[in-house]
């Protein structure tokens, strides 16, 4: 079965990872989920969307994003990076941290799926416009 797209999810909370993985896989996405904040660039291959938690031990989401962006810039296809947080202060300004946007309502499976579907529509539309 052709997958709807490949997504990299980075979150230190295993429960969140399991939730996100099962939700997105059931919706037809290919999901790479990791709780590691370093050495994740190798998972970027063919990923069109990256979802990153903010509060994580060691590096916070913005720092993880910086390292991934550097790796993504040399890649063929550049993914969209979205912040996934329930911190109201952080979710106010994803652009300042370098993210393309924020997925709010963390923990709500329906909301996550709607956001991911919309992000992939955005990706497909931009590709269509480039043609």
């Amino acid at each position: 079965v052709k997958k709807k797209g490949r997504i990299l999810v980075i979150d230190d909370n295993e429960a969140v990872l399991n939730n996100v993985r099962s939700t997105l896989q059931m919706a037809g996405y290919e999901v790479v989920a990791t709780s590691k904040t370093v050495g994740t660039a190798r998972h970027l291959n063919d990923c069109e969307l990256v979802i990153i938690d903010y509060h994580m031990p060691g590096l916070h989401g913005g720092e993880v994003l910086s390292s991934l962006r550097a790796a993504a810039n040399s890649a063929h296809a550049k993914p969209l990076f979205y912040l996934y947080t329930s911190d109201p202060e952080i979710e106010k300004a994803p652009a300042e941290l370098g993210f393309d946007g924020v997925f709010t309502k963390k923990g709500n499976r329906d909301a996550l799926l709607q956001n991911v579907d919309a992000a992939f529509r955005l990706i497909r539309l931009r590709a269509l416009q480039k043609k």
């Binding site: 230190d12 909370n13 429960a15 916070h60 979205y82 963390k106 709607q114 539309l125 416009q129």
Partner: protein
Amino acid sequence: MKSLAPEPSDAGRFVSIGSRLAASIGLVLAIAAIAIATQLMSSTRERLVEGKRLAAEMVVNLFATSVTPALDFGDDDQTREEIGRLATNQDIVYAGVWGTSRSEPIAELSRSAVARGSMPTATGSVVGDDAIEITHVLDRQGGRLGSLRVRFSLSRENQQFLAARRKILGFAVLLTLLAAGAVFVVVRRIVVAPLTQLSNAARRLQQGKLETVGVRANDEVGELATAFNAMATAIVDRERSLADLNRRLQQLLDHMREAIVVFGNEGILAGVRSRQAETTFGRSSFEGLQVQSLLYPKRSGDVEAAAFEEWIRAAFSVAPSGWDDVAALAPTEVMLDAGSERERVLALDFRPVEEGGRIARIMMLANDRTDVRRLERTVKERDEEHERQMGAMRRLVAGGGQLLVSVLARAKDRLVASKERLLRESGPLERFLVEELFQHAHSVKGEARAFDLALLETAAAKVEDLLAILRGRLREGKGVTVEEVRGELLDRIDATLSAVSGASTMLVEASPIGEAILAQVTVQRGDVAELLALLGERADEVGRVVTRIASRPFGELLLALVDSVPRWAERDGKRARLEVEGREVLVPPALAHVLPDVMTHLVRNALAHGIERATERDDAGKPEVGLIHVCCRTTEEGPVLTVDDDGGGLDEQAILAQTMGLGLPNGLAADAVFAPGLSTAGPSDLAGRGVGLASVAADLASVGYTVTLGPSVEGGVHVTMAPGPSNLPKPFSKAAASPRSPS
């Protein structure tokens, strides 16, 4: 719709075409008049000067004739006399006579300071601006006598010329003005007035009023007026036709159940919409708004709104042939007022409106799917609830009930400890406190996950999330006080405690043996049987304990029945459910051995003979779903069991008639039902073979139990099974009932 009216001109102040034409023609006439006047003035002056010159020459010739003798004789006095006569001519401003011997004049006449000049050497005349000078050389045979110069003033001629010039110029100006005025009047009448009429009519046409102009001139303006009238009529006809089409379209839209709006480039909404759109979007005016604001109000930053913005751009930039690719990427559903009482789910569909080979507008059809989604969500929640219960059941079957109970107890302890800790602390939030609370929440969440307790896991994760955020802030050096976060943390901990309580309740509800699950341990059935065989006959405390160990909870014995009752009833065209009370009551091994069969017979009998079909129950004012209530109570003699149904009760006449037909002793119908072979209904899947209740009575009698039957409070049948000797007559004994066969 965008107005087709021209934008206001920025060409400056309005100037009438008549004025422009009059000014232009006046300018041309003025130039011509000036040219003519100049020519006329020039010739006038020439004529005046030429006349003066001829007269002057005549005067000079006469003077030369009169002065010649005096010069010939060298009579200077006569010469001076002759020149003095010239003084009578007021035009002569200077006259001088020269001899041949001196350079000075012999005689001269000068009215003003006029330069005399040198001796003339030739005859001639010179015309200046102010005067005409004539020189004359006087000769005789053989030599020259002298010469003379006379200068005539042109002041009179110049004055005449100036007067003539004034007249000419005045006439030219007058002529020019008259001509320009005439042109203005004519142009105004034949061009400007009709054009003004056309302009006014066009303005009124713009306001939607049809007005033709009555210009009848047989020229270009007339043709223009005729063309305008034809155009105005065509425009009005087209507008009426468009209005009619719009009205019909609006009627069509109003009859559709979807909320329909139409938008153009950049999502700008047109005025056309269906009546349902006003209800769905809660507004009566749409024109000029952006469709984005209808679907994603106050959500400018989120990904769904961004994707829709991008989609609108793409939709209006592709050719109609590329629509399908874009349409596939349109949002299919949107939730409005999420989380509020007005929450609605709209299914979206987009249709392109083509014009001139491009997508000019897009029609959006929004269908309210709120009820469907709510139903789906309810079903999903029930499915999830069912799944949770199944999970709990699986754990119970696996003997994990006690483990779960201890997990829930530990979770409660951890959460209560967290609350107390939080209430004790104040001032700056210390990192070690966050870590301690985090550890508690993390443990609760992990154990909840291990037992598939999704609600508890989610609640604990919310506590953990908040603590993770706080941990992050502390790590970044941002100060936080306990007071600032205590309220939110306590709320989340309380919610987790509620989830613990809910999990306990769910465990007991899901348990077929009720609260007994909380005290149950798992042992091998064979071991218990062996223990019972060895020690069960003892009359001492050991025997009683062993018997208790071998006893089984009442609910466990009915496990299969609970699920079977609705299915059996359905097969018989009825609806019913089984309600169990006293699931945790322990049933002694002997009774537990016969009870599943006994209860199956009684319940099937209640379904077959007691519970009516739904229509009959409805006519009788009873709930559509029949109820069979089984109960087990502990007494000193042992458990007492009852079965009640809310069906139609015993058909006593039919039972007694059957009793007589079978040659059985006369008695109460309630006792007669236990007679072997008695059945008041034809055989069915449920009952009717006439051995069921006899077998029940016999089975119970074999374990020291008696069964009695009577009317229930609800009007159905009430069956009681209690310890005691059988009260049934001999023919109803176990021997009479055999051979036993399934009913």
